[in-house]
């Protein structure tokens, strides 16, 4: 199960993670709906592009720009959070949404927990593969922590001061 579009949903995607012995160009990509590492996509693209139901995932040290010309190839793009305190994925998501104009499913994978999800949603994630040892129903509540925000981001195109009439001086 994952959280998708603010609801708990069944999920039939598999995330392919490379073992130490695997290399991106010769790892065997199983059949079915699979989300492959960026490097696997880059080295096996000719074989993979014929597939329907393909996803790709980015690691924290990879750049959204590397998918610039490939966005239409994927049904889902995922960003990996190796540790919940690692914030690189927020900037990757923002680049995908704002700079590259990606509008498909953007999924947070890895160490994804309730208390980070509100910010993740703001920068553009709409799907969350929450950590399996945690209650997904409780995690869903994390998306509603705030109803007002100061900044513009992927969810709000305008900062608060352009969005509403603010209170004036004394």
């Amino acid at each position: 199960m994952i959280i998708k579009n603010k609801a708990i949903a069944a999920d039939d995607w598999t995330v392919l993670r490379l073992d130490k012995s695997d290399t991106p160009n010769d790892v065997v990509v199983p059949n079915g709906k699979i989300i492959v590492p960026l490097k696997v996509w880059q080295t096996q693209r000719d074989a993979l592009r014929a597939r329907t139901g393909l996803g790709v995932w980015l690691a924290g040290d990879e750049r959204a720009e590397e998918l610039k010309n490939d966005l239409a190839m994927f049904s889902v793009i995922a960003v990996d959070f190796p540790k919940f305190a690692d914030g690189r994925g927020y900037t990757i998501a923002r680049h995908l949404r704002t700079r590259l104009g990606y509008t498909g499913e953007l999924r947070a994978i890895g160490d994804v927990l309730r208390d980070q999800m509100f910010y993740m949603q703001r920068v553009g994630f709409d799907a969350f593969a929450t950590r399996s040892d945690k209650d997904i129903g409780a995690a869903l509540k994390g998306l509603n922590d705030f109803s007002v925000t100061y900044q513009a981001s992927s969810d709000e195109k305008l900062p608060l001061f352009r969005r509403v009439q603010r209170g004036g001086g004394l």
């Binding site: 927020y90 109803s147 004394l170």
Partner: protein
């Protein structure tokens, strides 16, 4: 000063509800300590030696009397009747129970205060010149920009999990009183040749174990673009800053590693996508916020108050206080007053509940109900009539807040140190007290003149020891406390980093070492030459030679009362000074 509107109240209230639920989940075991740690840090809550410490933000150092009274109330209700003012314009309460934290945040919210992002790897409280709005050398009042940036940085979704903490300081005056060169980003307001207002931006300054002064990344960012420009700096840092080594994760390491030119190129490349976009600050928004910082209704007064001149000649003590603690004001007949939190025998920056309430009263009586908190860990009443100075002095003296030592030897900057902080290698407050005791004589202090002595209990440098004219750093050698001494550091427009003079000293030796450094200064100085200028002129060698020429007495009796109590095994469950004034 700024007042919350409905949106500010709503956001703050929702944050408290969020954190209250996180505390509940921690107490029920639903959250592990590892998962909870970062959440509590984002709400200013540290786990320290004895208890939780709550760090409350005083945004850009500005407090109303009502807010100050709430700090006093919190110290009585949840703590031990005192608070500690830190070098980053925060207030720290040292004896907090986790269960109480949400209620404290709710109390703070009632007076429009918070503890948001006062720790953790996010954008921290934005600090400012304590004389903003009243300084004679002010070019632009920085407070509206500081408030706009406070809102921008509060719960910024992209920048809550940066590689490391991120500190911004802003000044609008020609003299830098906000230590902008030792911040991750330092902003100095400037007016260009066309009369347009913008900011000179420094990046990559910081203390800690790799002290570096900030480098100019841009000499003029027009004010409208300050959000988008800062956003690009922080974004490049978030993408490229190191995360593999805690000690190499600050932005200064990134700037140094790739060079300022490459760093600037990446920032400008990012900025091209957002410049002139929706985050550009509008004139309407600047005007809205600036309207909260209008000048009070000043009276028309003569430049100098004759009665005050007479009071000065009648009382040397008052005269000394005016000389050291009273600062010029842009409006004739007014002055800004520094209330010293550095009375000998008291931990630097500590204020009791009684003092906090009384300072709030003084602000109401003499200064339009506003106070400022300084990065030198003192308080300021910014709008006092010269004709009121004598009465203010009498009242402040009763409260132990009129020590005439601003800018002098005993105006020591000091972190909480080993008495409280779990990071510290050594105690700093007892040593600051021992040094203050030894040089308590005010005539001697006035003779030594302007000097900054800064002390940190570990290399995280919360006491800014690198930029002290004399810097003292607590180090750990085989489990024992030692102190490393440096000279030649300075903050402000001529910032410099101090140089270590040699091998470190014991607690009991250190006051004597400070004494020897001062002996060299007295011997070598020209008339009216400040300590730092003598050090710069003759270099560190004469100081070093004199300090190490003869063995430094390790006689514990010389180290003062504090040390004797410690050596006798005083119980630090209740720190010695917590008994208060």
């Amino acid at each position: 000063m700024y007042r919350y509107d409905n949106f500010d109240h709503q956001i703050t209230g929702q944050r408290i509800a969020q954190f209250g639920d996180q505390v509940r989940r921690r107490l029920s075991g639903e959250l592990t300590e590892d998962e909870f740690r970062i959440l509590r840090l984002h709400n200013g809550l540290y786990l320290q030696v004895h208890a939780y410490m709550l760090r409350v933000a005083v945004p850009y150092g500005l407090l109303s009397s009502a807010q100050m009274r709430m700090l006093a109330t919190i110290s009585r209700k949840y703590d031990r009747d005192y608070g500690h003012f830190s070098t980053r314009q925060n207030v720290q309460f040292n004896w907090i129970r986790l269960e109480d934290a949400p209620a404290i945040l709710a109390d703070l919210a009632r007076v429009e205060m918070h503890a948001n992002q006062t720790s953790g790897n996010c954008i921290r409280n934005i600090t400012c010149d304590e004389f903003a709005g009243v300084a004679q050398d002010e070019i632009v009042d920085p407070r509206p920009y500081a408030e706009i940036l406070r809102q921008w940085s509060t719960f910024h979704p992209e920048f809550a999990y940066l590689p490391r903490k991120f500190k911004i300081a802003i000044t609008g005056a020609s003299a830098d009183r906000a230590a902008t060169a030792v911040h991750d980003i330092g902003l100095a307001a400037v007016k260009n040749a066309q009369g347009k207002i913008g900011f000179r931006v420094l990046v990559g300054g910081g203390l800690g174990r790799t002290p570096i002064l900030g480098t100019e990344i841009c000499d003029f960012v027009p004010w409208q673009h300050v959000i988008t420009y800062l956003e690009s700096i922080v974004r490049v840092y978030n993408e490229y800053g190191r995360r593999d080594n805690l000690y190499k994760a600050r932005i200064k390491i990134l700037v140094k590693a790739i060079g300022i030119d490459e760093f600037r190129r990446r920032v400008e490349a990012d900025w091209q996508h957002t410049r002139d976009g929706p985050c550009t600050i509008t004139v309407e928004e600047l005007n809205r916020v600036a309207a909260f910082f209008t000048a009070p209704d000043y009276e028309q007064l003569p430049e100098h108050n004759a009665a005050m001149a007479a009071q000065k000649s009648e009382s040397r003590a008052f005269s000394n206080w005016v000389q050291r603690n009273v600062k010029p004001h842009k409006v004739p007949g007014y002055a800004a007053v520094v209330l010293s939190l550095k009375k000998t025998g008291i931990a630097p920056g500590d204020a009791t509940a009684v003092q906090m309430d009384a300072a709030a009263d003084l602000a109401e009586r003499f200064s339009y109900g506003e106070l400022r908190v300084t990065h030198m860990q003192n308080l300021v009443l910014a709008d006092v009539k010269q004709s009121d100075l004598f009465d203010l002095w009498l009242a402040a003296r009763e409260l132990g807040m009129a020590t005439p030592n601003i800018g002098l030897l005993t105006d020591i900057i000091c972190c909480p140190g080993g008495d409280f902080c779990s990071l510290a290698n050594a105690r700093s407050i007892p040593l600051a007290k021992a040094i203050a005791e030894r040089f308590d004589n005010l005539d001697f202090q006035h003779d030594i003149g302007e000097i900054e002595l800064n002390m940190s209990g570990c290399m995280n440098a919360c006491g800014h020891h690198h930029v002290g004219n004399i810097g003292i750093l607590g180090v750990d050698k085989d489990g024992e406390e030692w102190y490393q001494v440096s000279i030649g550091g300075a903050q402000g427009n001529d910032s410099s980093l101090g140089k270590v003079i040699g091998r470190s000293f014991t607690f009991a030796q250190t006051p004597e070492v400070v004494g020897r450094l001062l002996e060299v200064y007295v011997r070598e100085r020209f008339a009216d030459e400040r300590f730092i200028d003598t050090v710069r002129r003759i270099g560190p060698i004469p100081f070093k030679d004199h300090v190490y020429a003869a063995p430094v007495n390790d006689d514990q009796a010389l180290a003062g009362e504090e040390y004797r109590l410690l050596a006798a095994g005083a119980n630090h469950d209740t720190p010695l000074y917590a008994s208060g004034v």
